[in-house]
Symmetry: C2
Subunit: 185 residues, 2 copies
DNA sequence: GTCTATATGTTGATAGAC
DNA sequence: GTCTATCAACATATAGAC
């Protein structure tokens, strides 16, 4: 691919958005083609199957998360890094209340599928859990594993509850509590 | 319906199981018909559409939850009632790690649909949240709203994480923590 | 009330002209 | 590399015999 057009990345971009908003299953290739402005038949030049496209979306999200984490790691204080993560979640509260957590909802949806990519999204969540746990370890906590789990479960949980209640305030409240907890640790 | 056959309830039973295991979208009427031993065409005698069946499944779950809650309310101590809820969740840890929380995963899946029943499952989760909050209120806590949210978010969150990691231990650990917290409140 | 056969619509995927 | 036309599979839902 000496000089590829930007169609591939436009397809991934549209798919990422639509999968989050409507779910992978409810988003057809035609929907993605239309949203990205790529003709239907041409999609299969870039992705040999829908699974392949789903896989690419997950891969792209993984890169985005790792890039974000790398930015935070410029800060030498692991406690501040965790607070950065929480601030990011707060800034996304409206989106999460509308469509759920992009990672969590994708894990739950794909886990029920019987396709080859079924459990690929799980890697995103477990990577995030490991990252969070690592920060607690660097803070010197022996209960780092427990704390990491506690943080991730609350983040995922307030996403589910906020989405069910369609109320971003849920995220605001729960994350405010988490921030207070982390600050005094 | 003077003397109805048990086909209607068998269909709901199969649908409840399959929707949880594979998701509503991925479970076809044919799947449900086969699992329940009811011929495909006959399903539409009992439910005029798939949405109608989904709706009935949600309704049945609601009744089951309310019945369970009523049993717990025989106990005069609200703290014990909350512990009963947590014990129930622990007893279901393997199922939840495999397929996710039946309520939470249904909320997340249906929220993305564009059908008339789209947000009906949300009522289950908000009912549970209200019930939990009421127990904290009866315990005399002024922060009952916050505590209720905290409990529900953690319950839902450990379901998502356990499902992604396919590890029931996640539920065991998080709920043990919740129980300790509630006991010393 | 029960069940078979089938209509109807949508989707993922392919063929093949350009 | 690009795009139109279309196939094949599968889903919901209905018609109509029993």
């Amino acid at each position: 691919m000496g000089r590829a057009s930007d169609k591939r990345e436009r397809l991934i971009e549209s798919a990422t958005k639509l999968f989050h908003q409507a779910g992978c299953k409810d988003t057809s290739i035609a929907d993605i083609a239309e949203d990205s402005g790529v003709p239907l038949g041409n999609v299969y030049y870039y992705f040999k199957s829908k699974d392949d496209l789903v896989s690419a979306v997950i891969e792209e999200r993984k890169e985005a998360i790792k890039a974000e984490a790398m930015k935070w790691e410029a800060n030498p204080d692991p406690k501040q890094r965790l607070l950065s993560l929480l601030d990011l979640q707060i800034s996304r509260k409206d989106e999460i209340a509308k469509y759920g957590c992009p990672i969590g909802s994708m894990c739950q949806e794909l886990d029920k599928e019987r396709t080859p990519v079924a459990h690929k999204a799980d890697g995103l969540l477990s990577w995030a859990l490991e990252w969070v746990t690592r920060q607690f370890k660097e803070m010197g906590h022996k209960q780092a594993d427990q704390f990491g789990l506690q943080l991730m479960a609350t983040l995922q949980g307030c996403g589910v509850v906020a989405n069910a209640l369609k109320d971003p305030k849920v995220i605001e409240l729960e994350i405010a509590r988490l921030k207070a907890w982390i600050k005094e640790l």
